[in-house]
Symmetry: C2
Subunit: 436 residues, 2 copies
């Protein structure tokens, strides 16, 4: 029995079915795809409101894309990026930024993603926030602010004090380094999906035998012992020999377990809040920025938008500029009205790409933190001081209950690929336990 039809749950179900096991996937929403959601405006303009990219070393998701014959396209980059740093406008980050990122990369090499708590300095790294570590380096305030925003925001979707140095390095290590994480070409933002990223999950769901997937059935309770489990949804009950809970930790904690989860398991779920990113989209008649020689990509050390990108699919009726808001700015925006948020975001787009950005046809935002069945994006991270102590419990099975979700992944943690990997790993645990 699998709880959740995101990439982790669907990945687990595929693996279990391949092993000849009978599977049921229970999903709270009336749709699959978890933190992906592709929406079309009336004229057919496509918006990916959640996760949207895949990269070259994400082999699991690439395999699925190929398997389903899904077409992809490179992230549009018709022109120069804007790097707005220290009041200057550059086409690439200054050398000091690369040098600081290399330092992070070097530290991350000391981490074995399966066991970050075993790193030689794990305890010391877990005790300090990434913000504190940055403040202790010899770089300028400008370089530190920029790196804090693009790493803690752009990668972990939070503020630089919300994760420890250890958790940040673990995240980098799980992706194989900073460059694979941050890059467009050659990196995790290289490739987009024709039809939107959610379509990968939809294909996975379509391939399930009839009756396996039950939508709009939130699981409210899991009764379990060493022999099996009984799951209660809002409409039915099910029995199973094993359960894979494939939802983000903060949602996994909201299911009622009987017996209650052991202290360390529950403690780990409590200590893995979901990230706080806001993704906003401005839709224009045409990609006007390209006429100015700009790619639409930007990174900034100030302003509400840490990152922007040209998010226009090929043959789109209209052009899409997408911005990302993280950390304190995301919290501040959430305290404003939609009208104010729109004004603040568009003013910043205007500063970056010119006055034409001020008047889009459409302004679309979607707050995953307000979504009952997600509660934050991109993904959750163990809070400072918790990776060493509570980290191991995050994926330790409890009797017949196993844990999946990109948060439990040791490769590409936080990405589709990590989600699929976590589902497969949990399915392997189940296969091994059942002797299949």
């Amino acid at each position: 029995m699998v709880v959740g039809a995101g990439f982790a749950g669907l990945g687990a179900a595929r693996e279990l079915l391949e092993a000849g096991l009978s599977v049921q996937v229970l999903e709270a929403r009336p749709r699959v795809g978890g933190r992906t959601l592709t929406r079309y405006l009336p004229d057919g303009t496509q918006l990916d409101l959640g996760g949207q990219w895949i990269g070259p070393t994400q082999h699991r998701i690439r395999e699925l894309v190929d398997h389903f014959g899904i077409s992809t396209y490179p992230t549009p980059a018709h022109g120069d990026p804007v790097v707005d740093i220290g009041g200057e406008r550059l086409a690439s980050p200054p050398r000091e930024v690369d040098s600081l990122l290399e330092e992070i990369d070097l530290l991350a090499l000391q981490i074995t993603p399966e066991r970050p708590w075993d790193a030689p300095e794990a305890r010391a790294w877990d005790q300090q926030t990434f913000a504190s570590w940055l403040a202790g380096t010899e770089y300028s305030e400008t370089v530190i602010r920029y790196v804090a925003r693009v790493v803690s925001g752009g990668l972990l979707a939070g503020a630089p004090a919300e994760a420890s140095l250890l958790e940040t390095l673990f995240y980098v290590a799980s992706a194989g380094g900073i460059q694979p994480l941050m890059g467009y070409e050659g990196g995790a933002q290289e490739t987009r999906i024709v039809g939107g990223a959610q379509s990968i999950a939809e294909h996975m769901a379509d391939e399930l035998p009839p009756g396996v997937l039950r939508l709009a059935e939130p699981v409210t309770a899991v009764e379990y012992d060493s022999a099996g489990a009984r799951l209660t949804t809002t409409t039915h009950t099910y029995t199973a020999s094993r359960v894979i809970v494939a939802v983000p930790p903060t949602l996994a904690a909201r299911i009622r377990y009987d017996p209650p989860l052991p202290a360390l398991s529950d403690g780990a779920l409590q200590r893995t809040p979901a990230g706080g990113a806001l993704k906003v989209h401005a839709v224009y008649p045409a990609p006007f920025w390209r006429d100015r020689g700009l790619s639409g990509m930007s990174t900034s050390d100030s302003g509400v938008l840490t990152e922007t990108v040209d998010n226009t699919p090929p043959n789109s009726p209209r052009a899409v500029l997408t911005g990302f808001v993280y950390g304190d700015e995301a919290v501040l925006l959430r305290g404003r009205s939609l009208e104010e948020r729109r004004r603040i975001v568009l003013e910043r787009l205007g500063e970056l790409f010119g006055d034409q950005a001020l008047s889009p046809d459409d302004y679309v935002e979607f707050d995953w933190m307000a979504e009952e069945w997600t509660r934050g994006c991109f993904s959750g991270h163990l809070v400072p001081g918790s990776t060493v102590t509570f980290g191991p419990a995050l994926r330790t099975p409890v009797e017949v209950v196993h844990w999946a979700s990109t948060e439990t992944a040791t490769e590409w943690n936080g990405y589709f690929d990590g989600a699929v990997a976590s589902g497969r790993r949990a399915a392997e645990e189940v296969r091994a336990a059942l002797g299949r």
Copy 2:
């Protein structure tokens, strides 16, 4: 309608009833008292397994104790305390410890407990863990380790990296300083309750009119709008004009709300995990430590027990030595068997108080983190980087839903007194909203 019959919920109910409002209190457990639990061994020896102390500036709880005519007694202190620091055994902490505590006190003076996010250095203090701040002081490693253990452990029930400097200072400020918090005589551990601390809550419950309190009815769902709410428990449904959710934040997040809570409210609940203390009790035929001139009180910078105390009530058939385990040590102990935990704890008691400590009649522990309807003690704290951003949302009402719990208190946050204060504050909000 009040969810939870701990001190916050019962405090709220009293206030609402006094205002002439009709009230229902729904409690998940078959008992009242939240994080207090008084248990008697077969011979009548009393153990307070949860919260147990009150102090001189905790006026609200003192008023209740006086109102009910409950007797109290001073925490036993027949002899000298042991301060085990840097391998030395002293009768009081070295001057450097007091000096570091005074520094903390001075910083805490800059905090207005109602608005810690407005402190001049709030942002900088929220960005660093208390551990990082300590490491940056000029004190010796020994002094830092000792203070980390007694402040982050003894007060916030966690590791020094689990709370920011800001959250730690807020906690100190909410109690009026380090001395009121840490002291026995003149401090928060001065006074114990005859019959156990849970009896205060039981008296509060007994004074409620018949039918107000419903036990063993966990609230599973709250539907609400601007006009009122409907609550669903495991057995009934109720309607109400206003709701006070008076449970710890991590439990408040596990109720299903319709509509789902706004992003910032849910984000705040996600970012307030419960503390991880373990309280252990060894029961002996007699308080043998007193014969050696020892009070049974100890604080240590090493070993599994950060603190111990003589917990023997007056006229008790047997003597009780109670130990507190925090942070990493508490996590490590949870990974051991009961037998191993017992051995480790008793060995440490033996080191502190002599070989007689090795062979108690009884060894009793109770893990609040394993309790479904608590999930950690003493209380929850906003994680690093969250106080400034998510702090305000922790007690901001959502339509007709109000928030109580000692975690939302601005005076004596984390104590019974703060819990009662939070219940009264939420009740005042309800009164004001209803024009009563």
